[in-house]
Symmetry: C2
Subunit: 345 residues, 2 copies
DNA sequence: TTGAAAGCGCTAACAT
DNA sequence: ATGTTAGCGCTTTCAA
């Protein structure tokens, strides 16, 4: 038994097969201009020596690493986790490895990671900036040369060329949800979402307002509560909100944490969902699906986001036509048990 | 404005600074044996040219890539996502990049990814095998030379040397939970968990049985329901379970999906939690915390798992002493509202 | 079709 | 302290 198996280099294989390193390289890669005999001998030798080509070395020549980076604020956030998962799956199919980094929405860290990715010569990257205005980082991005696909953000492109991006139609989603609640008779509706520093929040707010505008009802009833995505904070905030004189009769809440905060606040105040308070979840999390009563939710496919992003990137990497460079994914309203007409007070 | 900025190589810097490449390398790295003047000039030149060292090229010499792999079945699974997140955070602090791959518990894919990681010459890896018996893969692992840390699995080591590993004390957790229920008066308790192919399930079952054994009560009351982690299946299974003549008066359920299935089954059957059925969640998910009534849960820190794993790996990478090679993390029982004495029938 | 040889950008050993 | 040089393992001309 050999002690260290993986030392085998291409020269070893060449020697074992009785051919030149060039032939080994050709035999193992393209297979072009290789006689059957050489191909066979090389394969046998490689097998015997358990030869594993060194990608690092290859990279130096080919200027490609077979790796792409993925930059998100937090892979543990369910809203990102599935995107990352799906993107990795697609990329792996083509032999690409994915390196991930969490930025915690820290612009400095984002810049650092972009630099790190470039230093590592990653072939491309998927990125979801923590804000749309980390100008310097994106300028850096642009100078990298490696293709970039933006995940659901409005990052200003270079000149008139927008970045390739996968976008989710949060605006239409929010509009649909709000319209639905208004249709049920609600006039005071609260939107609980993280701040408008990023596209999803901005779009939701726009859709929310649009629904009020087009219904021609008192826009004062559109209660927009910006907040961080912390459950405790959300709960405190929600408590305050529900204690108001003219409290909202419906709530649209983002994600798991904020939704949870809102639900707990309602419970603490003795409000029953949906009788006293209608609730719509933004993002169809396990919690929404499984809660009693089941929570009506805005759903979009995170897997599709990840897949589409990977696809867009692959397109660039292969340089196959420009194709289309942006994807807009739909948002659906999944009707469940958490919305009814407002209590008649 | 230069069009392509990043072409600058170490030779360019050397030329610009009027020194040799060797000096540039020294100046930029160790800083040892470098005069102040050279250091200054090199720094200036590097800055001016926006020089970014090519890690690929460096790797070829140093035989280290500054990257570690992370192999889990699914990064989108909340049980893994936080581990990955925490590990990445710790590794990044030391300048390491993390590449992730999802194996979907497919042994072939696991082997393929291990091979890919080795080909890429990753410095080390964190791995949570989909079963403890993918022998061939782990043999491969062993021959790699790169340090490996196992995540909460019992992978047989080489000879008498166990793999470095971060383990969670699921056994003690399950024992505590079961003992607690028995103490409340329960005599028929169901454990709903995925199969025993992996350490966590096995350990839980062991702890569950141990609690019954030490309480000296009828072991027939220990109902072990192995199942896949699918909500529908869990629900069907739970329905069957709760319809039995001598139905369990308490349930211990893993994760979000199975827990949700059990809760829905109970609801469908008109059983009230906790009056008719006590429930303990295994894993303190959002659902458990937010459900009404709030579900008593077994909790362990996924972040600690990730951090500890990263730490163990770093230890190996630095070759600093053997230190300890295994960490056993505690599981706590978080008391909430879902457990009371069984109904007196 | 094959072999020989020139690098890819960097570090490290060796000279100076 | 600094410059020179030999590779790291591979791909890819260029000859033969």
């Amino acid at each position: 038994m050999a002690e260290i198996v993986s030392k085998a280099t291409i020269r070893d294989v060449a020697r074992a097969a009785g051919v030149s390193v060039g032939s080994v390289s050709r035999a193992l890669n393209g297979g072009k201009n290789v006689s059957a005999r050489v191909a066979r001998d090389v394969a046998a030798a490689a097998e015997k020596l358990r030869y594993q080509p060194d990608f690092q070395a290859r990279s130096l020549r080919t200027r490609t690493t077979g790796m792409v980076g993925c930059l998100v604020s937090d892979v543990a956030n369910p809203l990102y986790a599935s995107i990352v998962q799906a993107a990795e799956a697609r990329l792996r199919e083509t032999g690409l490895l994915m390196v991930v980094a969490n930025t915690a929405n820290d612009p400095a860290r984002e810049r650092a990671m972009v630099a790190a990715f470039r230093s590592r010569r990653l072939d491309g990257m998927l990125v979801a900036p923590g804000s749309d205005e980390n100008d310097r980082a994106w300028r850096d991005l642009a100078t990298g040369g490696a293709p970039v696909v933006i995940l659901d953000r409005d990052v200003p492109g270079e000149g008139d060329r927008p970045w390739p991006a996968v976008l989710v139609d949060h605006r239409e989603g929010a509009r649909t949800a709000t319209r639905y609640l208004i249709g049920l008779g609600h006039r005071r509706i609260a939107l609980l979402t993280p701040g408008a520093r990023m596209r999803p929040g901005r779009e939701r707010i726009a859709g929310f307002k649009a629904a009020f505008a087009e219904a021609d009802i008192d826009p004062e009833g559109a209660l927009i509560c910006l907040q961080e995505s912390s459950m405790d904070f959300a709960q405190g905030d929600a408590l305050e909100l529900l204690r108001r004189d003219r409290r909202p009769t419906a709530i649209i809440a983002l994600g798991t944490r904020i939704l949870a905060g809102a639900l707990r606040a309602a419970r603490d105040l003795g409000h029953s969902v949906p009788r006293d308070l209608s609730v719509i979840a933004v993002g169809d999390t396990d919690l929404a699906a499984v809660h009693s009563p089941a929570i009506t939710a805005l759903r979009w496919s995170l897997e599709d986001v990840g897949r589409a992003a990977a696809e867009l990137l692959l397109q660039r990497l292969r340089g196959t036509g420009e194709g289309q460079s942006r994807a807009l994914l739909p948002v659906d309203l999944v009707l469940r048990e958490s919305c009814v007409p407002p209590p008649t007070t």
